[in-house]
């Protein structure tokens, strides 16, 4: 059989260099990422670590770093508000991400079985993530407005009492979660749809032949096959949810009371408004550790074990 164009046999003296590159492809393919990471992530991360064990003041226009060891840690131990923020954030993350995953998965399953109009559905579903977070916060604040907002207008038209969506401590968190769901279900939908579309048809048809019904097919064939994609989506959605800031900042500023106080709002306050850089950096690190613990526990569940890290 004649050698196909571009294959090993066809190449001449340049063979050895090309072969060498090919053999080491796995290493130099990583070079671009390593360069970027070294250049732009090393300094900020080290900076934050250093800040967490220091107190930073300013005098005569200069930074004044003083190593203060565990003083920031002591502030954290006495900080009851940060604990509330952590608790609220965990509730927010668990509720929001669960609902978003369920809705996103259902819609993706539906969409990938529909031939007609799939493109239109996909384009429409993408719209909420296109809107800048600032605009989303302001827009929903208007909609939740007590006197003139569209939700209360609808309630009044139906003869019900208007609700204080953002001012009632019991409702505020739910209102904020609703906004997040509207904003991020498209993210889940988009990725899961892509994952489902890439599934090989043979395996699915084999399951049909074996006599499996819809639910069994879903549970034992489809879900395991998109396992890696599912777990990556959950992981990233969780991380984003932990970092939620703009919407809550514009909707409630963490209020009423401490009902919607979340970690990123609190860190913003400490780091920027109060200019306590050392303590803020420590809080950022603690938040990262919490996220790691959260994601790590998730990995040990059944769904989590099939993720890219495990290979």
């Amino acid at each position: 059989m004649a050698p196909a164009a571009g294959t090993r046999e066809a190449a001449g003296p340049a063979r050895s260099l090309a072969d060498l590159l090919d053999a080491t492809f796995q290493y130099w393919a990583l070079v671009p990422a390593l360069l970027i990471l070294l250049a732009l992530t090393l300094y900020p991360m080290l900076s934050i670590l250093r800040m967490a064990v220091s107190t930073i003041d300013f005098a005569q226009g200069q930074f004044l770093w003083t190593f203060t060891g565990l003083q920031n840690w002591r502030s954290f131990v006495e900080d009851w508000l940060f604990r509330i923020a952590l608790k609220n954030t965990l509730i927010f993350v668990i509720v929001a991400v669960t609902i978003e995953m369920l809705l996103g998965l259902s819609l993706a399953l539906l969409a990938c079985q529909i031939q007609m109009g799939k493109g239109i559905y996909r384009t429409i579903m993408v719209l909420p993530i296109l809107v800048p977070a600032v605009a989303i916060g302001c827009m929903w604040r208007l909609m939740y407005n007590y006197d003139f907002g569209i939700f209360n207008q609808a309630l009044v038209a139906l003869g019900l009492t208007p609700l204080a969506w953002l001012a009632d401590p019991r409702l505020a968190m739910a209102s904020v979660i609703l906004v997040d769901i509207w904003h991020w279900v498209p993210f889940v939908f988009l990725i899961l749809l892509a994952g489902l579309e890439a599934l090989p048809v043979e395996a699915l048809e084999a399951a049909n032949v074996d006599g499996a019904n819809g639910w069994q097919r879903l549970r034992y064939v489809i879900l395991p096959m998109i396992g890696p994609t599912l777990s990556v989506v959950v992981m990233f959605r969780t991380i984003f949810a932990f970092k939620v800031f703009d919407e809550i900042f514009l909707l409630t500023s963490g209020g009423p009371g401490t009902a919607t106080e979340v970690v990123s709002l609190y860190i913003y306050k400490v780091f920027f408004a109060e200019n306590r850089l050392g303590y803020g950096a420590l809080l950022a690190i603690l938040t990262i550790l919490t996220i790691c613990a959260f994601v790590g526990t998730y990995r040990w569940t059944r769904l989590g074990r099939r993720d890219p890290w495990a290979g």
Partner: protein, 464 residues
């Protein structure tokens, strides 16, 4: 700038000041006593300078400022670039610029509560270092001396060094519906009782809120409550200008002020007082749903604009009412412009030259006319502008200034605001009683002062 020109400028300023400060009765003073109008082309000549950049935020008064800058560029041939940033990013941009090697901005605008951070950090150039002959015109309000920094007492007081210049002033004023008050034959309230009485008489449940408080958590409710607290004779610290940071926010007068505030909200306000921000205040009064409220003077342009208001011509402002046995008081929320230290001297001089031009009567008059609300020179409030109907807010603003106070002018200011902003809001939404809210606030503020190494103490707790 060569010394001859400098001398002329100083002489020019001095003569303007002399004319306006002459006792009434002298012929020149009589002429000056007519509401003044700027003579054409009598703007200050500040000489040629390199182009400079100013960091500024988009706002209702920005339009007026931009037009005045254009006037400056036309008159002097100097260039002033305006880098417009969203309000949310102003502080961080100013900080980065000041902390870096060379600031891209020659003037940074700083919100008054953040000025202490910049003064303490030594990021700004004292104006006398740029130009030893620079004098602040007495007609320019110093807004409770927030422009000075006294290194020895670590306080913003007159004996300190001049660090910045005011680019815009702002205090809280009392807004009310003139048509409804006139129809009911009520006079403009001056005391808390009169406010409550008017709300009781004219308020109509969900149709017309008798009084709306700005109760959103954080800076909103803290700023809003200040006039009540100060009016009742209470304060947050005992004597901070002289170093005594004993926490006095949980005193009986403060509780009285908070109780009145909460009763106003509960009896006359909307059910969602705990989430009302500045924007919601504007919305409620311009849609005609609010009878009275306290709001910043700079929100005035919305009232008479038919695109933004259903109550054109039906709103006016007055001094914020005080308790019958208390004092008038209003918090200040102005902008201070400072020159960063880390720029070359020619650019500093150019920046100062613009401000010198901007603070003259002529420029300030134009600024106010173009929509710059409020201007920073007092004589503009006495000019013929104040007689025009759309500037009817000027009288109340001028009357308020002697009672206007700067608050939280120290390093821990932001922490204190966060504490108060939370506790007051918790009291408003009913999570805490007023006594408990103030007691808890006092404890947290005490801790913050302790961490800052201040001489501090606590009052006995209020009975809960």
């Amino acid at each position: 700038m060569c010394s001859k020109r400098k001398l002329l400028c100083v002489l020019g300023l001095l003569s303007v000041w002399a004319v306006l400060a002459l006792p009434r009765g002298t012929p020149i003073a009589l002429a000056a006593a007519q509401p003044a109008k700027p003579a054409k082309d009598l703007f200050l000549d500040v000489g040629k300078h390199p182009p400079i950049t100013m960091l500024i935020n988009q706002s209702p008064w920005y339009g007026g400022f931009e037009k005045v800058v254009k006037l400056y560029e036309e008159q002097t041939g100097n260039t002033l670039n305006l880098d417009v940033s969203p309000y949310a990013g102003m502080l961080e941009k100013a900080r980065n610029a000041a902390r870096g090697k060379e600031s891209p901005f020659d003037w940074v605008n700083i919100d008054t509560q953040n000025t202490v951070e910049f003064y303490l950090g030594g990021f700004l150039s004292p104006l006398k270092e740029i130009d030893s002959g620079f004098q602040l015109d007495p007609q320019v309000s110093t807004y409770d001396d927030c422009l000075f920094w006294n290194e020895r007492t670590q306080w913003r007081d007159r004996n300190g060094v001049l660090m910045g210049l005011p680019v815009q002033g702002n205090v809280n004023l009392y807004y009310y519906r003139t048509d409804l008050f006139e129809r009911a034959g009520l006079k403009v309230p001056e005391t808390w009782d009169e406010v409550a009485a008017a709300a009781e008489k004219l308020g109509k449940g969900g149709e017309l809120y008798g009084f709306v408080v700005r109760g959103e958590r954080g800076n909103a409710i803290r700023f809003d409550w200040m006039s009540y607290m100060l009016g009742a004779g209470a304060s947050i610290e005992k004597d901070a200008p002289n170093g005594d940071f004993t926490v006095t926010v949980n005193s009986p007068p403060a509780k009285r002020a908070l109780d009145f505030y909460l009763s106003l909200a509960k009896r006359f306000g909307p059910p969602n007082s705990g989430a009302i921000g500045q924007n919601d205040l504007i919305q409620l009064i311009t849609t005609g749903k609010a009878l009275q409220l306290n709001m910043v003077a700079a929100a005035w342009p919305n009232m008479d604009n038919p695109e933004r208001s259903r109550v054109v011509g039906k709103v006016n402002v007055a001094l914020i009412p005080r308790p019958a046995d208390g004092v008038f008081a209003t918090p200040i929320g102005n902008w201070v412009s400072g020159i960063p230290k880390n720029i070359p001297l020619e650019r500093k001089r150019a920046a100062l030259a613009f401000m010198r031009w901007f603070l003259t009567f002529e420029a300030q008059y134009k600024f106010a006319e173009f929509g710059g609300i409020p201007p920073v020179r007092m004589d503009v409030f006495d000019s013929d502008l104040a007689t025009r109907p759309q500037f009817r807010w000027m009288a109340a603003y001028k009357k308020s200034l002697p009672y206007a106070k700067q608050l939280l002018g120290y390093k821990e200011g932001a922490q204190v605001e966060a504490v108060l902003g939370l506790r007051l809001n918790q009291a408003l939404v009913g999570e805490l009683s007023s006594a408990k809210a103030l007691n808890l606030a006092a404890e947290d503020i005490y801790k913050a002062f302790q961490q800052g190494g201040r001489k501090t103490g606590l009052l006995p707790k209020l009975p809960e």
